[in-house]
Symmetry: C2
Subunit: 251 residues, 2 copies
């Protein structure tokens, strides 16, 4: 079975200006790998309508699933839902179920126009539950629209995940050695990659308090192959006179 | 004067798998804003030749500068330089100056084929100094190719930055209030944005130990406008009975 693919759109000027350090990419990368829908591309784009619309239409044609984070709050710079409507060519209108959920949440008179914006969605959208702060995300076609605030995004993703059909989970096996230099193992490592074409064999230098070295990570859906490749890399490290350690080096 | 634009390509399976938390986007976003070449888009793409080649050619036509991070080491998964050569349609060949620099660094016999890969570049490339570990980055056309390891990338960027002609720096002014909810200020905030079309006025909820609230950030090249917009937002917060504080909330 092949794995369905995912693309993530991070929508927000605050990432592109450097105001905010993104942590959503990493969370979704890990979780999507676990449920067998590996993340194949990320685009970080600004709050500009034509950019959002054009990018959504480009990537929803190229990937099985598109996830978006950001731009679904109540302020003028929250334009994701309106842009997704335009991308799909459907009306941007009050979603009755979302409206009812949010109307029940606010005291009388406080569910104002700005907040009603959060219940305004592309026609045909289905809701993604927000267990943190009520205002839901939504899915339309293969596009899943989530909040940008990490805690809310994570809750939305966990509500959505059981509804997504993934392939086998992407697993990894790692081995590392202190004192290893990439240039000393590169040629042999390429041969390992060639013997295991079903894996991605990656080489990652690190510099930690415990010392410098390189971690070699074998990744894919074939656990037996990942373990065999890691065993071969372990032997290569030993032949260089090093003491390989299974797993990833501590941060 | 308008500002030249930048796009960043983060090349590497390790970001897309979630193995590695990217920090290069944030560093470059901040530094590029400071030198007046604002970051307008980021794409994170895998170590797949046709993806790298296609993406480089798409974005180098759309932005004034393209920066890449990752994939210029000595191992088989380091394919950035070869792919950039293909994107520009020029030979991928030993760069004499890079070769000499690296040859001088290694003890006799240790500048092996894998390491020579790091001195193999698109014909016509000019070097970006690497003060950390010698192996240089390079520029070809409007594409600047840097390492993925943050410390090395940062050194390369600082070597490159003085050669780039930016526009006026992007500055920001911020004010925040504890207890503020976005939905209460959204309508007035939109009016502020409309009065200052030369700025991006962004609204960012936060939840910190000190409490919940919202920060309003006005950003652009017009410092006087950013200060005037922030003064208006301060008044809006006071009218809601809150105590606005200039600057960003502490992390």
């Amino acid at each position: 079975m092949t794995n369905p693919t995912a693309c993530l759109l991070v929508i927000g000027n605050e990432i592109l200006s450097g105001r905010t350090q993104d942590v959503n990419i990493n969370f979704l990368a890990r979780r999507l790998g676990q449920i067998g829908i590996p993340l194949r591309e990320v685009r970080v784009i600004p709050d500009v309508p034509e950019t959002i619309i054009g990018t959504v239409n480009a990537v929803r044609a190229s990937f099985d699933h598109v996830f978006t984070t950001g731009g679904i709050g109540p302020t003028h710079d929250d334009i994701t839902a309106e842009c997704i409507s335009a991308a799909f060519g459907v009306p941007w209108e009050i979603h009755a179920e979302a409206f009812a959920l949010m109307n029940a949440r606010y005291p009388a008179g406080e569910f104002n126009a700005a907040r009603q914006r959060m219940a305004t969605m592309p026609r045909g959208a289905t809701l993604i539950e927000n267990s943190v702060s009520t205002a839901p995300g939504f899915t339309i076609g293969n596009v899943h629209v989530m909040a940008g605030v990490p805690r809310i995004m994570q809750a939305m993703f966990e509500a959505l995940a059981p509804t997504l059909e993934g392939g086998p989970p992407i697993i990894s096996r790692a081995v590392y050695a202190l004192g290893l230099l990439e240039g000393r193992i590169a040629a042999d490592l390429e041969a390992v990659q060639k013997r295991f074409p079903q894996l991605d064999v990656g080489s990652y230098p690190f510099a930690r308090e415990a010392g410098h070295g390189v971690a070699i990570v074998s990744k894919g859906t074939d656990i037996a192959a990942a373990e065999a490749a890691t065993a071969e890399v372990t032997v290569l490290m030993e032949k260089l006179g090093l003491a390989p350690i299974q797993g990833e080096p501590a941060a």
